[in-house]
Each structure stands twice: as C-alpha cells, then as structure tokens.
C-alpha cells in the first residue's frame, strides 16, 4: 500500500491568468483555501491527493507579487515567485485538515472544533524541513539565505520586502498546526450566527496548543 500522495498541477501561467481576471486575489495570503475558492479545481483527500503543486509552464510571464502556500514547488517556480517580490511556502496538510481547508463553509457547518494540522509523515518531513524547498518547517533565517543564493543562481536581484506596501501580507505565515489564516485549532466557527466559540477548559486549551 503506497503512501505516496498525488498533487493537483497548477501552472504559473494559469495562476497569473487567475490573478489577472480577478479570480484570485493576491492582496491576501494565498493558500489551498483561496485556490479552491476560485472554483476551478477539485481535490479529493480520500483519493490520496495532497493539494497543489506549482508547475514550470509560464514562469517567464509570471508578474504578480504574491504570498502563496502550496504543497509542492520546484526551484524554477520558487525563483519565478521570488524575483517578483513574492514569497512561497510549501506546507503539508494531512487528509483531515485538507478536507477542512478545501471546503471551509461545509466544514464549519459540521459544528466541530477546528482540528490541529498534523506534521508530515516520515517520507515527507525532509522535504518540508528543507529551506531550499521553502518548507514551512524550515528555519526562516536559512530560507533567507536560500532566497539570496537562488537569486544569484537565476540571475535577478531580490526585491526589498521592507520597501513594499504589502509587507505585512507578504510576511504572513501560519503556525505549523494552523489550517486557516486567522483561526486557531479548537475554535468552533458558527457561520449562521456569525460567532466563534473558543474553548475555556484548560485541558482542551492545552490539547489544541500542543
């Protein structure tokens, strides 16, 4: 029984087109939830699909400054995002978290607490801990060094983030246990009454913060 996941390919050209046609906003951090909200993709975590992988096609025409989180990205794609002043992170979603992330409204409708996102399995933890892959478990200081080295390798000057007006958006990162931006594990989101219920019991709080 193979543990190997498959990923939905997303070309850089398609990503640029989605941004140009206002199908995808790049003034918020883009992750699986935002990409699925475009309505153009379907992911089934039960069929061992892990999420999105960015592909090379269209890297020359990619112009957007974007903070994007996908599940797999190769070096050329990372260079293409970073040369335009953006940031890219590769993050792992376990099947349960991915089910919640791709259809948040349906998930909130079930009325259960947001789960903690599980860490990657053994065969994937190296990938997501490597700063070269911009893994979400890698040391950001080492990622900074790899950004510099990649800019030297691909022949561009790394744009200064501090001068960008979208600095906060570009530097926004999730905690490794977080599924949604702005929502913690343990919270129950009630969309009908527009209310978020947070746990008060210390044991529950300890569990969801572990």
């Amino acid at each position: 029984m193979s543990l190997k996941l498959s990923y939905t390919p997303l070309c850089m050209g398609k990503l640029q087109m989605m941004i140009d046609t206002n199908r995808l906003r790049c003034d918020v951090p883009v992750d699986v939830t935002q990409l699925m909200a475009t309505g153009l993709f379907s992911i089934s975590p039960q069929q061992k699909e892990g999420g999105f992988m960015l592909e090379n096609e269209g890297i020359d025409h990619f112009k957007a400054t974007i903070n994007i989180e996908v599940q797999w990205a190769n070096e050329a794609v990372i260079a293409s995002v970073e040369r335009n002043g953006g940031f890219i992170t590769t993050a792992y979603f376990d099947p349960l978290s991915l089910t919640a992330a791709i259809k948040p409204v349906e998930f909130f409708g079930r009325g259960i607490a947001i789960p903690r996102r599980m860490l990657p399995p053994q065969h994937l933890i190296d990938y997501y801990s490597d700063p070269k892959n911009r893994g979400y478990l890698a040391d950001p200081a080492e990622v900074a060094r790899e950004r510099f080295l990649l800019a030297q390798k691909y022949g561009y000057e790394l744009p200064d983030v501090n001068a960008s007006p979208n600095k906060d958006i570009l530097l926004e990162r999730k905690d490794p246990r977080q599924i949604f931006f702005g929502l913690e594990p343990g919270w129950v989101v009630n969309l009908k009454d527009k209310v978020i219920l947070k746990p008060t019991d210390p044991e529950l709080k300890e569990h969801f913060a572990s």
Binding site: P29, A144, D168
Partner: protein
C-alpha cells in the same frame, strides 16, 4: 454574476480574512511545534539581509552583482513555430571586465587573457544562452557559464612535485635514448645496403 448563499458566506469569510489576520498577529497563536520552538537559537527573520561573499585575489566567491551585468533578451533560432518566432528566450549577458570592481585586478587580467575571444572591442565579456525554451532558465544557464568562465580563469594548476619532475626527467631521457637507438639501427640498416668497400 449570480452568487449562491455558501459562495456569499465564503466571500464574506475570505474578505474578512485580512481583518482576522490583523487581530491574530497581535494575539499570535503558537503551538508546541511553532518555529520558535523548533529553532530556539534562530532569529526567524526571513527578510534578513545577506552579506555577499567577497572575492579576494584568485578566490572567486561565486557572487556576481546583477546591477553590474547587462542582460538583453532576443528571439532564439531553430524550430518551434510561432513560439520561437515571437517569444524572447535567448539571453545575452554582458559584463564590462575592466570596470568590474568586485573582481580583483589579477583575476580580471587572467579573464581577459583566457577569454580574449569572448571579449568585444569595447571590453565586454559576452555570454549567450538559448539552451531551453524558457528565458528564466536560459538566464540561469548564462549565469552558470559566466561563473564557469571566471572559475576556470582563476584556476592555477599546482606546481609539479619532486616526484613528478623526476618522473618527467626519466621519461625524457628514456625517449632520447630510444630515439638515438632507432637512429643508429636505421643507419646500420642503410649501411648494410651499401656495397662493402674493401681497402687493400
């Protein structure tokens, strides 16, 4: 554009994400596997400015400042139909060798000597690449070629050791001996074809 109720709610959620981000970054959810716990000694700054490594003498560090290099794009040759006719994938990288202050003078001299054929009359070292279908990858290839040129120009082979010199001397003497032996043998052969002269 028609929007169903779940879509409206999702749009409401995504539209308000920015506001939620602002509140959460103040609160700061940190689990037990947050990055500050995995890397306690690190400053976790992804925007940290990196100091480029310096090149001193013939030790080329590999760093090429991109603001000192001129890159132009043009169309590639070969088959490819409309794509090759319209898309600028060929990369031309130019570097003024004499005014490159990030290279040491001795290294610049060696580059000028070794790659004389790649340097124009104006003093620009030219590197071209149209290896792939992508402008970005071709630029990476051109950078690689440039670095290779600088590295090979900087390479000074190590002086021969005493053993190498001794070996070279013995081989040279052996080849001289063999050459003289063959010469004498050939001479005897030619003499043998002469009519013998008997002096009475």
């Amino acid at each position: 554009m028609t929007c169903s109720a779940p879509r409206l709610l999702l749009q409401h959620l995504t539209r308000n994400v920015q506001g939620l981000n602002a509140t959460l970054s103040v609160a700061g959810y940190k689990s037990a596997v947050s990055l500050d716990k995995i890397y306690p000694a690190s400053d976790l700054d992804v925007t940290k400015l990196q100091t480029p490594p310096k090149t001193d003498g013939l030790n080329f560090s590999g760093y090429v400042p991109m603001n000192k290099v001129q890159v132009t794009y043009s169309r590639s040759n070969g088959p490819g139909g409309q794509n090759v006719n319209k898309i600028n994938t060929k990369v031309d990288l130019r570097l003024q060798v004499t005014t490159a202050d990030w290279l040491s003078p001795e290294l610049k001299e060696r580059i000028a000597k070794k790659y004389k054929s790649s340097i124009t009359a104006d003093g620009f070292l030219v590197v071209r690449s149209d290896k792939t279908r992508s402008q970005q990858l071709n630029l990476a290839d051109a950078m690689d070629k440039l670095r290779h040129m600088i590295h090979t120009a900087a390479y000074v082979p190590p002086p021969p050791s005493a053993e190498d010199e001794e070996r070279a001397r013995r081989r040279h003497e052996a080849s001289v001996r063999e050459r003289l032996r063959q010469k004498k043998a050939h001479s005897l052969l030619k003499q043998g074809r002469q009519i013998p002269q008997w002096d009475e």
